[in-house]
Every structure is written in C-alpha cells, then in structure tokens.
Amino acid sequence: MTTITALGIVLLILMVAVGGKQGWTAFLSLILNFGFLYFAIVLIAFHVPPLFVTITTGIIILAITIFMGEDDLRTTVTAFYAALIVTAILIVLIFVVEHWAMVQGFGTEDSDDLEGMSILIGISYFKVTVTVTTLSTLGAIAEAAMAIAAGLTEILQAHPEVGNRQLMVSGMTIGRQIIGTTFNTLFFGFFGGFLALFIWFAGLNYSLGTIMNNKIFVAEMIEILISFVGVLLPVPTTAWIMTRRRHKIADKQDS
C-alpha cells in the first residue's frame, strides 16, 4: 500500500468518525475536486481554451465545495450566488494583474526541474497562469461565503423580522470575526508551501530588489494577495445577496 492510500484511508476513517454522514460527503467532495482539477489539466493539454476550462471547472468546484459542505438551502444557494459573483470579479482582476506582472510559466530557479523537457508546448502559459490563480482562490471564496451565509441564516431564523440594513451590518460583523483567522489559513497555506524557495532566496543572498522582481516570488505574492481579496469580497456580496433572497427561500420552505 502506498503512503498516499494509507493516509487517505486514515483521513476517511477520521472524517466519518468525527462528522458522520457530513464527514463522508466532505471526503467525497475532496475526491471530486481532485478529479475535476486533474481533468482541467488534461483538457488544457488537449488545447481546450484555458479560459473556458477555468470558468466551467471553477463553477463545478464551487458547487461541489458549497453544496456538499452544508445541507441548509438558504445558506448554500446564497453562498453559491455570492461566490459566483466574486469569482467573476476576481477573474477580471487576475487578468489585469497577470497581464501587468507577466509571471507566466517558469522562472530561472525552475531550470533544474526542466532539464530535458520541451517547454515550447504551443499553449499560452499566460492563460494557464490565469487558470491556476483563479482555481487556487476558489476554496477561500467558498469558505468565506459559506461562513457569512451560515451566520446570516442563523440570524434570520432567530429574528425573521430583522431589517435589510441590519442584515448588512450583521454580515460585516461576522466578516470581522472570521477575517483574522481566515487570513492565517491562507498565509500559512501559501508560505508553508514555499519554505524551500525562501530558503533558496536567503541562502543565495538574493537582494530585496531581486526578490521583488523574481518571477516565482511575484507569482506567489499575486496568488496570496488575490486570495486575500477573495475572502474580503464575499463578505458584503453575501450579505447583499441574502437581503435579496431572504423571502424567496423562506416562502418556499414554508409552502
């Protein structure tokens, strides 16, 4: 048995033991997300336009993460709409920023790994970078939108008569409570993954100017900063969607 299989089985057992049915669906969502991510790579390798792959895979991954993570419809549908709007805004921002930064493809630090490879593959690495950056923020967007939507659903259930303006304010308050720890999740997630690169930079005495213009470092900074934007934008967006949709779902559930 390989280590990956063994770790996967341990994770599955723990998830079912701790979360029951919800743990099982969460594990399934992880597997599905992996499948669609890998499928996205294969599609791009077959020269399907990367932007098309980004949008379809993005919507699928958001749907999997949100609808398989929670059962309450008011929470999930609201979170899903908010996540879609935020993702659309982010794709535009990513496009502009990546075009400005030109960090596609590989840096000189990758040369060792690329030895013997043919890197001219006839697919625009720029478009692939837009795909990568978009997909890497989806988890953060979904999580933030779900947290806000779940909190607001709770408030609406306890006080169905609460005004729209109060609902917006409550959304921002919940946002304030989650923002510190969510930033930590992303910060450590990214920086943990690039420990080796930072040791390389420090070990070879890269100057600040070199690091700030280094292709890989800048690409990494863009990813982390975009994902910070990706947890900030869902806060007002989700609250706003909730004010629009509050009656729709409440009425449906009553009838």
């Binding site: 341990v10 997300n33 690495y125 999740t185 080796a196 420090a202």
Partner: protein, 369 residues
C-alpha cells in the same frame, strides 16, 4: 450604506489613497535604488519568425524582436541602445516586450562608443506594491480594527518567518524540524494574541491548536513509517537546497497550522458563547456543540488547503503531459507531495475537532454530579 459611515471613513480613505499613489509613484521611479541596469523600451521592431516543433508534435513559433531601450539608471543613464530579444507564442521562460515596459539588463558595456547589453527580465515590483496596497485598503475600509489586526498579524508572522529562515541557514539546515516546530508554536501564540487578545479563550485556543497540529503530524509520520514512504517522491520537491525530507515535514506542519488555528478558534468561540448563555451547561452538551460546529467547517477548510497545495503543481503537470508522460507518472512526479500535504493537513483539521471540543468542554463545562 449610512451617511455616518461614509463621513467617518472618508478622511482615512483619502489618507490611504494618497499613500497608495505615493507608493506606486515611488516603485515606478525607484530605478536609482537598483544596482542592476534598468531600461525602458522606446521602440520595438519585429524580426524573423521561426516555427519549432518537438518529438511530441508540440508546435510553437519563436519570434525575434529588436528593442530600442533608454537606460534609467547607472552612469549611462539617459543613453539609448539596441538589444535583441527572442520570445515564443507560449512564453514559458521568455516574454514579449512592448513599448513602455521596464526591463532589467545584464552585461551592459561600452565598446567603440556603442552600448551593448542582454535582456535579463521584467520589472515587476510595482504590481506587488499595487496589490498589497489594494488588500490593505479593502481590509482597513471594510473591516476597521479587525482588519488592521489581521494585517498586523500577517506582517509580524512574515518577519518571524524571515528570522526563522536566517536561523535555519546559520545552522546549515540542521535541526530543521526543531526550528520550524518552535516557529509554529510562536506563530500560534502571536497570531492568536493579536486576534483574540490576552484572554483565557486565547490560551485555550493555543493549546488546542498545537495539540491538534502536532498529533496529526505524529500520526502521519507513523503512517509514513508503516508504509515505508512508498509513493512519496522527495526528489520531485521544488527549489530544494537542503535535505528534502525534514523540509517537507516542516512545510506540511506550517501549511496546516493556519487552518487548524482557524477551526480551533471558531469552535472555542462558540463554546464560550454557549457558556455565557447558559453558565450551568454540562460537559457532554458542550462537547457535542463543539463537534457540530467542527464537522460543518472541516470540509470547506480541507478544500481551501487542498486547492492551494494542488494548483501549485498545475503548470508543471501540464508540461509533463505535453512531454508525452503518462497520467500516472505525471501525478507521481508533480502531485504526490501536494496530495500528501493535503491529506496530512486534512487529518490535522479533523483530529482538531474532538480535541478542541473536548478541551473546551473540560475547561468550561460543569461536571455532572
């Protein structure tokens, strides 16, 4: 939103806007602070185009361009010279330059009154500064005090990270796990101190986070040794300048720390709230509520880390597939380490749920008589 909100935030907004403009202006005019020559592209002349193909039938085109650039620093500042550049359609390590781009040059020298140089890369610092400013602006305007504290915690953690790397280098890569294990403890205390303040709640969250993270790591290392690390290809790790295995374990530890912290603080916050609403609540009830909170956030959290770890490997996986490798080999050489990282972090996130709930229940709950 309300009128008061706008008038209260307006001065701050203007200050931030001015600061952003100054920072952007500085980074687009900071060439004199660079020792490397920087030049601005003033004219571009397209040259020949050559079709390339490899044994995997990947077709691309290589273009030549001649750039007329004007130096912005060094002692030749203001002088013009011509450099040539080659780029391809896919632009993996090369890139196409346009009029107005700022580029770095190397091997700048003067021979027979003629300057010559090679293109060495693109100036990118302005983008990083712009995006950082955008995040700061949004954080402070939308989140106020909580946003500033989140920002402070990111800055302090970055500084600690740099210090730890310096210590690691001083030790020539010995004791990697000791150094970054200690760093993980310091990170947890500092981050939670900034977010929660010096309270009982913070102490409980710190204890729960560390317990969950290290227990998951221990359990995973047990699994590693049972399975003899079959299917983990340390040689596929990128940018390694030290022994890869401890570095990988340290990366995994730090990567999962934030998520476990996130989850622990959510659960502990709920338990404290419940205790406040009903001071006589029992341990069993507290434990079950903690578990309920935990099981609904663990799925999304694991997905957050999974997507950050796995998309990292997207570009190189694509390259492997386009170089005629099988899907299985592509996975093994690019994604196996990311998958292991996701799974270990996942185990940490799940284990933390009963640990944190139990810990909180013991701390807050009344024992049944």
């Amino acid at each position: 939103m309300s009128h008061g909100w706008i008038s209260r935030r307006l001065p701050l907004f203007i200050i931030l806007l001015v600061m952003g403009a100054v920072a952007l202006l500085f980074t687009s005019h900071n060439q004199r602070f660079y020792r490397r020559p920087i030049a601005r592209v003033e004219a571009v002349k397209a040259g020949t185009v050559q079709r390339t193909s490899d044994q995997f039938k990947n077709i691309d085109h290589e273009h030549n361009q001649t750039l007329t650039v004007r130096l912005m620093n060094t002692r030749y500042r203001g002088q013009r010279l011509q450099v040539s550049n080659t780029y391809s359609d896919s632009q993996p390590m090369d890139q196409r330059y346009h009029v107005g781009d700022q580029i770095f040059l190397t091997q700048l020298r003067k021979r027979h009154h003629q300057l010559s140089a090679n293109v060495a890369g693109y100036k990118r610092d302005t983008v990083v500064v712009f995006l950082s400013w955008l995040v700061c602006l949004m954080l402070i305007m939308m989140m106020g005090r909580a946003g500033s504290l989140a920002l402070a915690s990111v800055v302090v953690n970055s500084l600690l990270f740099i210090i730890a790397i310096e210590i690691d280098l001083k030790n020539n890569g010995q004791h990697v796990l000791l150094i970054f294990g200690t760093l993980a403890v310091i990170f947890t205390v500092v981050s939670l101190l900034l977010i929660l303040g010096p309270t009982m709640k913070m102490l409980a969250t710190v204890a729960a986070t560390l317990l969950g993270t290290f227990l998951a790591l221990g359990l995973s290392l047990l699994v590693f040794s049972w399975t003899h690390e079959r299917g983990i290809y340390y040689e596929s790790m990128q940018y390694v300048t030290q022994v890869p295995r401890p570095l990988f374990v340290a990366e995994t530890l730090l990567g999962s720390l934030g998520a476990v912290m996130d989850e622990s603080s959510d659960i502990i916050a709920t338990l404290f709230e419940l205790k406040q609403l009903n001071p006589r609540i029992g341990r069993g009830a507290l434990f079950m509520s903690g578990r309920n909170v935990g099981k609904s956030i663990m799925g999304p959290l694991i997905n957050v880390l999974f997507l950050t770890f796995m998309t990292e490997t997207f570009t190189s996986s694509l390259l492997y597939i386009k170089n005629g490798n099988s899907w299985g080999y592509t996975f093994a050489m690019n994604m196996s380490l990311g998958t292991v990282q996701s799974l270990v972090s996942g185990i940490g996130i799940v284990l933390a749920v009963p640990l944190v709930s139990g810990f909180g229940a013991l701390l807050l709950g009344r024992q049944k008589k």
